[in-house]
């Protein structure tokens, strides 16, 4: 019996060193050497292109509603997950979905509130704009989700609708390799493009 135990301890120690630390450290080394920008989180001047943010002003294109109140990562625990895994505007949270079932009264009420909110901003919402995502901070919307917001943004910024349509088209990423996943628009990049457009005096 002692032999089994001794072998088990030796094997566990080898595993800890090789498959824990050597693997993770060698991986980090290679990652930092080859893909430093990605490995550090795709951080740009205004945030990470992979982490959604809360956009509330009609001057910007909005992302998916993951931010506050009933749309928090885990309403039961009272954690506001919103647009950030750890902390956004002083509110603590972690990544996560609402986990509301397809026939949940809470989901129905939340969605109704979001539809009303979008209508008030002058947007005829698509489903993505009134539903929360899997991570709680989806950085992307579909091109159609951006297009339905064009009247709102045009009115608030004074930029012509056709210029905004060009912007959305220019910022649209096609499905990867032409067939994987959906085509999408990164909301942060889209709004950075919008800011450039404004600075250039339309």
């Amino acid at each position: 019996m002692l032999t089994y135990l001794r072998r088990s301890v030796v094997m566990a120690a080898i595993s800890l060193v090789v498959f824990g630390f050597l693997y993770a450290l060698a991986g980090t080394g290679v990652a930092q050497l080859l893909f430093r920008h990605q490995a550090d989180g795709s951080i740009t001047a205004n945030g990470s292109t992979l982490i959604g943010q809360s956009w509330t002003s009609p001057r910007w294109f909005h992302g998916r509603p993951d931010d506050t109140g009933p749309y928090a990562a885990n309403p039961k625990k009272g954690i506001a997950g919103g647009d950030n895994p750890l902390l956004a505007n002083g509110v603590a949270g972690e990544s996560g979905a609402t986990n509301l079932g397809p026939r949940s009264k809470v989901l129905l009420a939340d969605t109704k509130a979001l539809v009303t909110y979008r209508h008030r901003l002058g947007v005829d919402p698509t489903e993505d704009l009134v539903t929360t995502s899997g991570s709680g901070y989806d950085p992307d919307i579909t091109p159609l989700d951006a297009v339905v917001q064009i009247p709102m943004v045009a009115k608030a910024t004074g930029i012509s609708q056709s210029a905004l349509r060009h912007l959305v088209a220019a910022e649209t990423h096609g499905a990867e390799l032409g067939f994987l996943g959906s085509s999408y628009v990164d909301v942060l990049q889209l709004n950075e493009g919008l800011a450039r457009l404004e600075r250039a005096g339309h």
């Binding site: 135990l5 072998r7 088990s8 566990a12 498959f19 824990g20 693997y23 993770a24 980090t28 290679v30 990652a31 080859l34 990605q38 490995a39 550090d40 989180g41 795709s42 951080i43 945030g47 992979l50 982490i51 943010q53 956009w55 509330t56 990562a73 039961k76 950030n84 895994p85 750890l86 956004a88 505007n89 990544s95 996560g96 979905a97 609402t98 509301l100 079932g101 397809p102 026939r103 949940s104 009264k105 129905l108 969605t111 109704k112 979001l114 539809v115 489903e127 993505d128 009134v130 539903t131 995502s133 899997g134 991570s135 992307d140 579909t142 390799l177 994987l180 996943g181 959906s182 950075e192």
Partner: protein, 563 residues
């Protein structure tokens, strides 16, 4: 159209992998691969063993249990003293005793059920030293147990079925490590994070948002998490988070990785027993069931969400997007979910709790089939072989002959062991679900009301009993009740099947081979594939039908009703 190409490319890639990874693994476990001999030999010396010292099934099983026990103790200890260990930039404190117990059982059994949010609970040391290590070791234990059972069929009049330590070392170094490392590079290249620096704070001047973003050594953990059908992610929202699964390409790669070894092992099986046709028959049964489930689950998720429709958005061209990420879309998320639930992986690129009733039904029943289509790494193959023995037994009853499988007589002892192996899971899942809904501590768990709340409980115990680890995430699992009950569920679901499988291996290895005759019941043709599918569906379908009816089926039929 895009979804069709996703399927086509996966089929082609997995077909090639089945053929070549399958034969490579056969060579590895036959001891014909030596390119890391310089690493292997000192390891065997340290372990005090060598490839020519083989074990009986009992010694093999004791080695499995001893090694698992030590791994359990070490993982538990590391989580409990997390606060005093290095690599903890967020200064997270010790993990509580009940949660550490559940997590250690979960990672040791290759379940990766997570009652915690990774970014707010686990230090980098714990993620690397306690969790990633088990993500390599636990699938390797599953694979070598399957190989030991296959040797039972391949050998005649042999007292031994291999050497656990040698098999384990070979599996880890020749199979898991190289593939995971290469895949890790791709994940990071696509945008998965891999750093030991702590969180980062950024202020966006455009909207005034200030964020503190969690980071960590994520990308390489992601690679082994999918390859080893583990499923436990670094972050709470698992593969839905862009830092774990940044693009549609990594989503495709995840699906590919988690199906690669379980499917390929059927080729390894065929190769080791000397007839690839036998492996192909098992593969066919797996693929047929898997394909049907992908079909109706993707179709269900492409329908709209009933609550969103009732709120006024009737036209939902992109399907049910509640809890899904835009970059993946509805059908690819459904495909990922089916692959993840039917391989005992349990990773999630969407919120399974928010799937449509029939979509959730697809995921739940996929696990209830016993994780054999294709199942987890190794665990899928040995459970499938147990079902195949049951199928052979039923076939033998129909034609009135002593059943044989691969030339081995299937007698009372083998049928008893196969019966035990196939009934342990449904028994433990249903009994524990009954207990959970009978006590207050169990009933306060669910987030959702009505039938969906019941489904959350049933899903949790099915997932843990099948060592899957995916969740209907609304359930508050981090309570003493669910931590302890879940850990028991996972341990029985793991060892209650693995040990009978090893015993079967030992019993079969000792037998002589009966020469094939005209009257031999063939196990490599369409008839047998149909029989195996029948056994899987009857054991999964009929035992769980009453429970399923109370959950997703009631929810689906309750048109227009909200809970």
């Amino acid at each position: 159209m895009g979804f069709l190409w996703t399927i086509v490319t996966l089929v082609v890639a997995l077909g090639l992998t089945w053929r070549y990874l399958g034969s490579y693994m056969a060579a590895v476990f036959d001891g014909r691969v030596h390119f890391l001999g310089a690493v292997e030999r000192p390891l065997y010396r340290a372990l005090g063993t060598s490839p020519d010292r083989e074990q009986t099934w009992r010694r093999y099983a004791i080695s499995v249990v001893a090694f698992s026990g030590v791994s359990f103790a070490l993982t538990y200890l590391l989580l409990r003293i997390q606060g005093s260990l290095p690599l903890n930039p967020q200064h997270l404190g010790a993990v509580g005793p009940a949660l550490s117990f559940n997590t250690a059982a979960s990672f040791l059994t290759n379940t990766n059920w997570q009652n915690y949010g990774g970014e707010t609970t686990m230090s980098y040391f714990s993620q690397i030293g306690a969790l990633t290590v088990q993500q390599f070791v636990s699938p390797a234990v599953g694979i070598v147990a399957a190989i030991a059972l296959v040797r039972g069929f391949a050998r005649k009049e042999s007292a031994t079925i291999g050497n656990f330590w040698v098999d384990l070392v070979r599996c880890l170094f020749y199979v898991l490590l190289p593939i995971a490392f290469l895949a890790g590079i791709v994940f990071v290249g696509q945008g998965a994070v891999q750093t030991l620096a702590g969180t980062v704070s950024i202020h966006d001047a455009m909207n005034g948002v200030t964020q503190t973003i969690a980071r960590g050594p994520i990308g390489f953990m992601e690679a082994i998490k999918q390859l080893g059908t583990n499923g436990g992610g670094f972050l709470n929202a698992n593969s839905a988070t862009p830092y774990e699964n940044p693009t549609a390409l990594t989503n495709w790669l995840s699906i590919y990785l988690l199906l690669a070894i379980p499917f390929s092992l059927t080729y390894t099986f065929g190769k080791l027993v000397g007839s690839v046709r036998q492996g192909r028959a098992l593969l066919a049964a797996m693929v047929l069931i898997f394909g049907v489930w992908v079909g109706f689950t993707s179709y269900s998720e492409h329908q709209g969400n009933p609550a969103v429709a009732a709120a006024g958005i009737v036209h939902q061209p992109t399907g049910n997007m509640v809890g899904k990420e835009v970059r993946f879309g509805d059908t690819s998320s459904a495909l990922f979910a089916v692959a993840s639930t039917q391989t005992s992986t349990g990773s999630a690129d969407a919120s399974y709790d928010s799937f449509t009733p029939m979509g959730g039904f697809g995921l739940l029943t996929g696990m209830m089939l016993g994780e054999v289509t294709p199942g987890g790494t190794g665990t899928g193959l040995y459970t499938m072989l147990i079902y195949a023995i049951v199928a052979v037994f039923i076939g033998g009853l129909m034609i009135g002959r002593t059943p044989e499988y691969l030339g081995k007589k299937i007698q009372a002892k083998e049928v008893k062991l196969a019966g035990l192996g196939s009934l342990v899971m449904p028994l433990v899942v249903l009994v524990l679900t009954a207990i959970a809904v009978s006590v207050h501590a169990g009933r306060i768990g669910p987030l959702n009301s009505g039938p969906h709340g019941f489904t959350e409980i049933l899903y949790a115990l099915t997932s843990q009993g099948n060592n899957n680890g995916s969740a209907f995430g609304g359930l508050s699992g981090n309570t003493p009740f669910y931590n302890v009950v879940g850990a028991i569920d996972m341990l029985i679901g793991r060892f209650g099947i693995m040990i009978p499988a090893l015993a079967l291996g030992g019993s079969l290895a000792a037998k002589n081979v009966v020469p094939e005759s005209l009257g031999t019941f063939r196990t490599d043709n369409t008839m047998f594939v149909g029989l195996v599918i029948g056994v899987i569906v009857i054991i999964g379908g009929l035992t769980f039908f009453p429970a399923i009816s109370l959950g997703p089926i009631v929810e689906q039929l309750g048109h227009g009703k909200f809970f």
